[in-house]
């Protein structure tokens, strides 16, 4: 059967330039890529989205606000009736920028907050970074926008999650995205940040315990990529059915190259929008084969013998690659950790 998916959700790395050098950054962001897209090139790429039924684009980076043309791009996407979101470190969220975000029709903004103040500032290697990001969040709230705090959970901040919840709740943050560290980029070298099995499980149990508490308090707490799979700790609702990168989602790099997910290493590039159309890259026979053509024979590690393997597909592709170098073998898995604990009891 021919492939029938569409890139409904796009992550777009507007630039790799960043005003921070975070220890855990999976993109090793700092300087921009040598040949980043021009405004005209970016607008020409936008024009290809409607025929591919793109529904939503999320600007990422680097720090997307450091790409000068972000307002033009957001406005164009809005005119194309495509929703636009953004993930930022929050440092540049001045009143003027926040007003621009609102006026461009960007409907949701995620701001990274990776622990309580000392931890966040240590990871960011910038004293005062926490307060500046929190101020940015407040400005977004004041402007009537719908901000999300995003926490990348690592060994330094995992024990702070309850206290961070209290801090965010007090600040009036309506949504909180929690996700584990992926060992890419600078994050790969910072082994002191890597989660142990116990710490990974602690994150899951925190989310399980605090989701209903947060909901009662008017905050949505969402475990995001890499929190799973097929276990009692997972959020209630439809079960995990495998990575959607290259099936319903896609990532565009700041130089026009295309990957299934921006968290994947650059070696997994599927095409270049400077050379081919998005349609041709997306529908090229054999494209995104790792996720589209998954079979149980490709399961690796502990996933090979897991009874949920066929449904799960071996977890988050990015986390699997970061930890093992291969797809379909994500070792960070609540189900597997719980099973191992039971076996040793």
């Amino acid at each position: 059967m021919p492939f029938e998916g569409l890139p409904l959700l796009l992550g777009w790395e507007l630039t790799l330039a960043c005003n921070l050098r975070c220890q855990h950054c999976g993109s090793s962001a700092g300087s921009g890529r040598p040949n980043e897209l021009t405004l005209d090139e970016a607008l020409a790429i936008c024009a290809q989205f409607p025929e591919l039924a793109v529904q939503e684009v999320v600007f990422t980076g680097g720090e997307p606000l450091m790409q000068a043309y972000w307002p033009r791009l957001a406005t164009r996407l809005r005119d194309l009736r495509i929703k636009v979101g953004m993930v930022t470190n929050g440092l540049l969220l001045s009143p003027r920028i926040v007003a621009q975000i609102r006026d461009c029709g960007i409907h949701e903004v995620g701001v990274s907050l990776d622990g309580l103040e000392p931890t966040h500032d240590e990871i960011r290697a910038l004293p005062g970074a926490f307060q500046r990001s929190l101020d940015g969040l407040r400005r977004l709230l004041d402007a009537g926008l719908h901000p999300t705090a995003i926490t990348t959970v690592n060994a330094l901040n995992v024990h702070e999650l309850p206290a961070l919840y209290a801090r965010l709740h007090t600040a009036g943050v309506p949504q909180w995205q929690v996700q584990p560290l992926f060992g890419f980029g600078r994050g790969r070298e910072q082994t002191r940040l890597h989660l142990s099995d116990d710490e990974y499980l602690e994150m899951g149990l925190f989310c399980q315990q605090y989701r209903p508490l947060a909901a009662d308090a008017g905050m949505t707490l969402v475990p995001a990529d890499g929190c799973g799979y097929c276990s009692p700790i997972d959020p209630q609702g439809a079960p995990w059915r495998g990575c959607s990168a290259g099936i319903a989602d896609c990532g565009i790099m700041s130089d026009g190259r295309v990957k299934g997910c921006l968290s994947w290493p650059d070696s997994l590039v599927e095409g270049d929008l400077r050379q081919d159309t998005f349609w041709d890259i997306w529908f090229r026979p054999g494209a995104f084969a790792a996720t589209r053509d998954f079979t149980c024979a490709e399961l690796g590690g502990q996933c090979r013998t897991c009874e949920m393997g066929a449904q799960c597909g071996g977890g988050c592709s990015a986390k699997s690659i970061a930890a093992t170098g291969q797809f379909h073998a994500d070792p960070y898995c609540y189900r597997a950790i719980l099973a191992a604990r039971l076996a040793t009891q």
Partner: protein, 114 residues
Amino acid sequence: MATKPTKPAFVLKDQLILREHIWDRIHWVTYRVPNELAGILKKGVADAPVRVQLTKQFTDATWKYTSALIMEGAAPPPEIAGAIYNIADDISCGREISLKAGDYIAIQSFLKRK
């Protein structure tokens, strides 16, 4: 039994119907949550068609081959035969046309190759 209409009603809505294995994934790659799209899709495919902007070229070509099939019995090009038969079937049965994602992709790819 389907009857052959004398004048087919041809209204293509700007919505695609995705196969379940595409939309039934609650965990989309989450750059930022809550993912509004995932929230919509979680409601179920019947309530969650995906909006697409159909071009005049697409609508005209689809109409051309569908009407030729219904009115004259002319077989559509093999690459899009399945899609055109699906649409013609909806029309002949008096149903609202539901444009399946696979059919949309087939027709769009066909037009790009022409």
